[in-house]
């Protein structure tokens, strides 16, 4: 009779313990950010591994999302004779929402999972312990540079995603469906506000970058050091990272545009 409540209590306690460990981990990470900036070469290496290697998937996804948005938008707007507003529709959708959110989801799947697997394997093969034994702090040498690289990369990837998306929409809307190029670009310029739209989108991307990278590094560092443990941690990174992005997107949108 009481078993379900006992199980629920255990689950809640375990979840709280994980949250506590993750918060401590985040605190330790933030305390070492200075090293990541001082030894920027380490961060630069990670910018390549995390950021540059995610460019291709972001470019391809951005192009397709932009093209689909253009098609869907055109077939709706044309019913009202408002197809010239396609540029505004696509730009606002991408810059405010889809750019940061989809780039962050792709980032969690591509770079986040790779980070977790890498750190988890370093743990399971005693590389982190070996660093400790060589009097080298793994937080400074391994984790902090990856964290900084993560939250620098994602805003840049989100900008790239939006830019390629707009170009994809131009290709479909202007080149294929025959919308006037002047109206497409002109209305976009008039209606997209730098502070309210572009900057808010960038703030979202910075927050998503920090959260997804934090989750990825924590899962790798906290994983059970076995093949099954690393595999489960990698899955958790993608699931928790994606849900965190979507949940935070709602909160940030409510804060930015709600009042």
């Amino acid at each position: 009779m009481t078993e379900p409540f006992v199980a629920l209590g255990r689950w809640l306690l375990a979840a709280l313990a994980r949250l506590g460990r993750a918060s401590l981990f985040g605190g330790r990470l933030c305390a070492r950010l200075g090293t990541a900036c001082r030894r920027f070469g380490l961060t630069l290496e990670q910018l390549y591994a995390i950021g540059v290697r995610t460019v291709m998937i972001v470019v391809v996804a951005g192009a397709f999302v932009g093209m689909v948005l253009a098609l869907q938008g055109y077939y709706t707007l044309v019913n009202f004779g408002a197809e010239s507003a396609l540029g505004v529709l696509v730009a606002l959708s991408l810059v405010r929402e889809l750019g940061p959110v989809v780039a962050a989801l792709l980032f969690a799947g591509r770079a986040g999972s790779a980070l977790t697997a890498e750190v988890g394997l370093m743990k399971s093969t005693d590389q982190l312990a070996a660093l400790e034994m060589m009097a080298v702090d793994p937080y400074r040498r391994v984790l902090a540079p990856r964290f900084v690289a993560g939250f620098i990369s994602l805003p840049l990837l989100a900008i790239l995603f939006s830019a390629i998306g707009v170009y994809g929409a131009w290709l479909v809307g202007v080149q294929m469906l025959g919308i006037d190029a002047g109206a497409f670009w002109g209305q976009m310029q008039d209606s997209v506000d730098f502070h309210a739209d572009v900057l808010n989108g960038l703030v979202k991307a910075v927050v998503f970058g920090a959260v997804v990278t934090w989750i990825a590094l924590y899962e790798g560092h906290d994983c059970v050091p076995t093949p099954a443990g690393v595999s489960r941690a990698t899955t958790r990174t993608v699931v928790h990272g994606s849900l965190a992005v979507l949940g935070l997107d709602f909160l940030l949108t409510a804060m930015m545009y709600g009042g």
Binding site: L121, M122, D126, Q127, A129, L131, M133, M134, A135, V136
Partner: protein, 244 residues
């Protein structure tokens, strides 16, 4: 348990007896529930992070897997502690790294990546890396496990030679009886977290303790039973038949 300076002290015992845990306690990677561990007269677990790291610079540890950094070449792995802790010019780092690699017989393998090394080679590179900062103390965690006889012989010779040449204090954790007894000056046998026997290899070989004899002679049954404790098989099988 006392570890004398300038000798090879072996800690032996069956799997799961707490040998690796003991090494991790000595190096401050784990904290004891009670008791204290002193290295050079200082309580390891009362040290702050900076002092603990300063102490670890005086220790080298060879992990069972080698624990080489997989994204760095053999050369860069050995150079790693020098790059992290010193400001030596590149030419001097090169000389030190090549000398250390030469001492483990792998100078010409310096361009290889860890994935290209055999298990024995990886441990020799890890030994070179552990020694490059010239520690006063070396800790070896199961260095012979899973090695072929030739590699085992190489590691035995290296560990003894390194200890004598550099005047180190070495702690060797292993359950490979013959190899460990051949190079140890002192031996501790532990089981279930307790010291069962201690002494020189000759003293241990002369002991008649059933537990020590079972371990040293590799007997399947004895004080450590072959069967896991529990109900007897006839009771379990016949008991089930009677109930049916």
């Amino acid at each position: 348990m006392d570890i004398p300076r300038n000798g090879v002290t072996a800690i032996m015992g069956p799997s799961g007896s707490g040998k690796t845990t003991l090494l991790r306690l000595i190096t401050g990677q784990l904290t004891p529930d009670n008791g204290r561990i002193e290295v050079d007269g200082r309580n390891v677990h009362a040290l702050g992070t900076d002092d603990l790291y300063a102490l670890r610079k005086r220790m080298g540890m060879l992990f069972q897997s080698g624990a080489l950094l997989t994204d760095l070449s053999v050369y860069e792995n050995v150079a790693f502690p020098l790059r992290e802790h010193t400001r030596l010019p590149e030419a001097l780092i090169r000389q030190l790294v090549l000398l250390r690699l030469e001492s483990v017989g792998l100078r010409t393998a310096r361009t290889l990546m860890p994935a290209e090394l055999s298990g024995g080679m990886a441990r020799r590179v890890a030994l070179a890396r552990a020694l490059v900062l010239e520690p006063e103390m070396m800790l070896y965690d199961e260095p012979f496990t899973g090695q072929d006889p030739i590699t085992m012989g190489v590691l035995v010779t290296l560990i003894r030679a390194v200890n004598e040449t550099l005047g180190l204090t070495s702690i060797l954790v292993s359950h490979d009886v013959a190899e460990t007894m051949s190079i140890a000056d002192h031996v501790y046998l532990i089981a279930g977290g307790e010291v069962i026997a201690r002494g020189s290899p000759a003293e241990l070989q002369a002991t008649r303790s059933p537990w020590v004899r079972q371990f040293l002679d590799a007997r399947a049954d004895g004080p450590v039973p072959f069967h896991q404790p529990g109900p007897a098989i006839d009771e379990e099988l016949l008991g089930a038949a009677r109930r049916d």
